[in-house]
Symmetry: C2
Subunit: 103 residues, 2 copies
DNA sequence: GCAATAAGTCAGAAAAAAATGACTACGGAA
DNA sequence: TTCCGTAGTCATTTTTTTCTGACTTATTGC
């Protein structure tokens, strides 16, 4: 069996979607912040230095659509919205920790 | 301590570089193929359907620069080049396996 | 009622990533 | 010496992503 032949067992990469979802200029850090505490839009605008509303809104929506984050309306003094990790989102935390060890 | 206050312990995301490296249109699948067997340029051109030389060359160089892949000249019949995972590259395999479970 | 805070949307511009097509360089076979 | 396979590079175009600035909607404080 030559090295060339060994390459035959083709199979599409299933990780692609998740990597695409978590990549880009802001999403890795956004996800990381989400692992620490619930998040609010304007707070994120301040903490992700240099981001703009459009990009933040898009990133949040994509993570929400993928069910890694969920949105909830908090009925406190200034009525506001919080984003937090779903169970699926939390299941990614150990993966991130492993990645940190490798780098 | 309010939810807002809890967000204060800022810390940059260390995973960003690796996610950036492994994302993009072709790199996840390229890396995945690399986990299966050593790879050659023209074989990859055929297997990554729709890719072009430029993009493949760039992806390979980036993974090589990050020391996830290494290049070696094989002195066989038609002298050629093989790309294979480094030890650092191999350490990513279990991470990918974990990601696959989550999806 | 008027301004401020909170959480956005939208259209267009700029920047970054990916694709195209032509070209290069080397070794081996005919 | 000419052609083929292998492994690319380079300049330019196209596509995708990100940014900018103006505008929106709802709630709250004065």
């Amino acid at each position: 069996m030559t090295t060339e032949n060994r390459e035959e067992k083709e199979e599409t990469c299933r990780v692609q979607g998740l990597l695409k979802l978590l990549s880009g200029k802001w999403k890795p850090e956004l996800f990381h912040l989400a692992t620490l505490a619930p998040l609010r839009f304007n707070s994120l605008m301040r903490r992700l230095k240099g981001i703009n509303k459009q990009s933040l809104a898009t990133a949040l929506r994509e993570l929400e659509d993928a069910e890694l984050l969920e949105k909830s309306v908090i009925s406190e003094k200034p009525l506001h919205i919080e984003y937090q990790l779903t169970e699926k989102g939390k299941s990614l935390i150990p993966v991130f920790q492993q990645l940190e060890k490798i780098m």
